[in-house]
């Protein structure tokens, strides 16, 4: 089977031609070190500055100097959480986050706990939403930072970011959001949404891997986590990844400019997929919020089936998806997101995430649903759990 259909865009995406065009000259023509003061260096620096401007525009930051380039979303999250926590340790040592954050946030918080900080991990409801009353109840006098992701990467639920930011500011607390999955999916305006710190990554929006950025509103202190040649205004040392940064700038520009059209396309694809699925397959549930969610992500649990087996069968038909099943995770634990959403273990085991890109055609969706129906039937035939009884 030669046909390949990639439905794992929430993991990573292909690099678009526009982004590639932006990056290519930086490898072998404009290859200067942005730290050098000769013409090669100055050209490289101007490329970096251009990317910074594009990101400022994309997220509507006030100044370009509020953008710090990093090696990706994980480093941006780490820098935000560890950086702010260390800088404001005297003010307090309490941080609030949610149970469904990406591990880049969760494990940075775990590290802070080792250092003597206290962290509240807010629960979520069945749809994956953080409840605002819960948030209000967990705020303490020594709370310095609230970090809640904008769009969840596994189920696509969109959080009430603006309200959360408002609450944070009412109590003089800084607000960070992991927007890695949100850029290009929802409108991000850091001034309007009162976001203090925001992490983003290039490879989720048709940019290259290994580059991301952190937005930090001017006036907020944070401490670096890398030490070296004092690049990025002392906050992120290490020679600038000029091709990557150029690609990130272009990717953010395209994603934020086209997000309305992209979303409309994705919604059509998603709705068509769900319509076809309802025709061909029985006994499944859609995880996540019914409407307050990203159009690109559909997380479905097929009853009576384990996700990894289904993933492998789909893979054999050339369809690439991912699963929240424990069998594929390194820890052999089921997805922490689905667990936090109180999904029973056997239902979480059968979860498959389809994340669409705009390059998917109706014929592709037809093929996917057809193969999916076959694979589901095949696995249900050998499953001791009867799907209809769940």
């Amino acid at each position: 089977m030669d046909r390949k259909i990639y439905l794992d865009n929430a993991s990573t995406t292909y690099v678009s031609q526009e982004v590639l065009n932006e990056m290519m000259p930086c490898f072998n023509v404009l290859y200067g070190n942005a730290g050098s003061i000769h013409s090669f260096g100055r050209t490289a620096m101007s490329i970096v500055d251009k990317a910074r401007d594009r990101i400022r525009e994309g997220i509507n930051a006030q100044k370009s100097t509020e953008i710090y380039f990093t090696s990706g979303g994980t480093e941006a999250d780490n820098l935000a959480i560890l950086g702010v926590a260390h800088a404001y340790a005297e003010k307090g040592k309490h941080i609030i986050t949610s149970q469904i954050e990406h591990h880049a946030v969760l494990n940075a918080c775990k590290q802070l706990e080792k250092e003597g900080y206290e962290v509240t991990y807010l629960p979520v409801d069945k749809s994956g939403l953080v409840s605002l009353p819960d948030l209000l109840h967990s705020i303490r006098k020594d709370t310095i930072l609230i970090s809640i992701m904008s769009v969840n990467n596994e189920v696509g639920t969109i959080q009430n970011i603006k309200s959360i930011a408002k609450i944070a500011h009412d109590y003089g607390i800084f607000f960070h959001t992991d927007a890695v999955q949100a850029i290009g999916q929802v409108k991000i305006d850091v001034q309007d949404m009162e976001i203090d710190l925001l992490s983003l990554s290039a490879h989720k929006i048709h940019g290259p891997k290994g580059v991301g950025a952190l937005y930090v509103k001017s006036g907020i202190k944070f401490e670096p986590i890398t030490y070296g040649g004092n690049q990025e205004r002392n906050m992120r040392s290490g020679t600038e990844n000029v091709p990557g940064i150029a690609g990130l700038g272009k990717a953010v520009e395209l994603a934020t400019k086209n997000y309305i059209i992209t979303n409309r396309k994705l919604k059509i694809i998603r709705d068509y997929f769900l319509e076809k699925l309802a025709e061909k397959v029985e006994y499944y549930q859609i995880n996540g919020h019914p409407y307050q969610k990203s159009n690109a992500i559909v997380n479905i649990s097929f009853y009576g089936i384990e996700g990894e087996a289904l993933l492998m069968l789909l893979d054999l038909s050339g369809i690439c998806v991912s699963t929240g099943s424990a069998c594929t995770s390194k820890s052999l634990l089921p997805s922490h997101v689905l667990e936090a959403m109180h999904l029973p273990k056997d239902i979480a085991q059968g979860s498959i995430r389809f994340s669409f890109g705009t390059n998917i055609s109706k014929a592709d969706v037809d093929y996917v649903v057809e193969e999916l129906a076959k694979a589901v039937a095949k696995l249900r035939a050998i499953s001791p759990i009867q799907a209809g009884r769940i």
């Binding site: 990894e308 087996a309 492998m312 069998c327 390194k330 634990l333």
Partner: protein, 137 residues
């Protein structure tokens, strides 16, 4: 590759998948850490030889293939021989499993034990029932 070729091929076309009518020994093992569930159906004759074996699995490729191979291994064996089958015998046939997947083959071993326990329990029940009937007479 994540799984070797043998596992990938066998996973697509398991030969012993499905339930069994008239099975007189049914074993079931659940792995709590990932809720994998395998059910083994055996048909054991009067001479304590396993005539047929089938399985049903809610689990990953490794669990499915391990259970399938276990069925092959126990067919034609006596109960004592079947009990001596270990997860290593399964691995010898299917080849190396990916990291942390070894428990899938252990599960296969445990289902044999569980099925044979079930067989003896049924026998005991039958014997008791027979005894009761003779007492009444």
């Amino acid at each position: 590759m994540y799984y070797n070729r043998y596992i990938m091929e066998r996973f697509q076309y398991p030969t012993n998948a499905g339930g069994m009518h008239g099975a007189n020994a049914i074993g079931e093992v659940v792995k709590d850490n990932c809720t994998d569930l395998t059910r083994l159906y055996l048909k054991i004759n009067d001479k304590n030889v396993i005539e047929n074996a089938k399985f049903k699995t809610f689990g990953c490729c490794a669990s499915i293939v391990s259970a399938d191979v276990t069925c092959d291994l126990v067919k034609g064996k006596t109960i004592e021989e079947a009990l001596s089958i270990s997860n290593q015998d399964v691995i010898n046939i299917i080849g190396e499993l990916p990291d942390k997947k070894a428990y899938c083959s252990v599960m296969a071993e445990e289902t044999i034990q569980s099925a044979i326990d079930d067989f003896y329990k049924r026998k005991e029940k039958e014997a008791k029932k027979a005894l009761k009937e003779t007492n009444i007479d």
